[in-house]
Symmetry: C2
Subunit: 212 residues, 2 copies
Amino acid sequence: MNRIGILGSGRVATVLATRLATAGHDVMIGTRNVAGTSAKWTGPAVTFAAPPQTAREASLIINATPGDTSLERLAALREVLDGKILVDVSNATRRGAEGLPAGLSYPDSSLAEHLQHALPGTRVVKTLNTMLFSVMVNPRGLTHPPTAFLSGNDEGAKATVRQLLHDLGWPPEWIEDLGDISTARGAEALILLVPHLLRGRGFAPFALTVAR
Amino acid sequence: MNRIGILGSGRVATVLATRLATAGHDVMIGTRNVAGTSAKWTGPAVTFAAPPQTAREASLIINATPGDTSLERLAALREVLDGKILVDVSNATRRGAEGLPAGLSYPDSSLAEHLQHALPGTRVVKTLNTMLFSVMVNPRGLTHPPTAFLSGNDEGAKATVRQLLHDLGWPPEWIEDLGDISTARGAEALILLVPHLLRGRGFAPFALTVAR
């Protein structure tokens, strides 16, 4: 991996950028508000740029934009994402009461499949969308081992994402390769449980996991 | 709980009937083929009857019929299920290659919600549909603790089902009450992961679980 681009400026983008920069990666945050995002930044050294420049300069791009806006935003970057790996960690949901997810934007399909279809020259890998954001970069912080699911059509891209997960703190035995990009449908559907888990216990860290 | 009725004659019905009868319950298996099912039975003492008689004579009925047929079968039992607790442990899916689940029968909804709507006088509780059948009656057999999700509108019915889960070997701290029956949508969507888990490791016991 050379430069890692992270699209988004919310909590997910922030924790991933912080952890990857701390692990020694060259991280560029792609945001539509470069001045505002960089002014508020308190983490380790990263660079900031508009999304198209970020996609152009990075070899691996992480989608941490709100999932219900991702397809439109990323389809607009089709040319600069060509030949790149796109790691999609987002959840595409309709918003319900209290801003919590109320339903899937793509029932009977998935955002990841739509992204792969819209970006045929990009190797899309779905992962990390099945847990509270803090667990993405601190999987050992839970009492029981969480699962990081992987879905994608390209084995080489999935191998690169396994290395990325290693750098985020994930041991290989906690990574579960589900198969091609259509398997993201199962991983994305897990978001339907999340509002009920949050209602029960607040923002206590959790990850939806395969116990064996 | 007085008599427990179990509708179905497959692996799920068999393991549940065996375990509950062994735990001392009066179990009646409701099947459309009483002679064939009872002739093949090798487990502890249970009784066999047609589904309507089973629903009439039991106070709690477990739906272990194939989920894609359950709505039609159970709606036909509306009168005899009135006032009863119906524990739905099934998954309603379309069949794909190799007979594995290929999609939800009720995307953007759930079988449990359809059952509750079709059976307004019955208290429907969804549980145990998120694991290999063997784990339903042997949750301590996994290396890491599994989760039994609960969804239902009636708190009294859920309390009764917690007792049933206790008799199946589930400690209370592994039971996660998601909320009303509409939350079964999340639990039922987990079946989308199952074919990919089975493809990877065969019929090794597993349960989809919340790691915290």
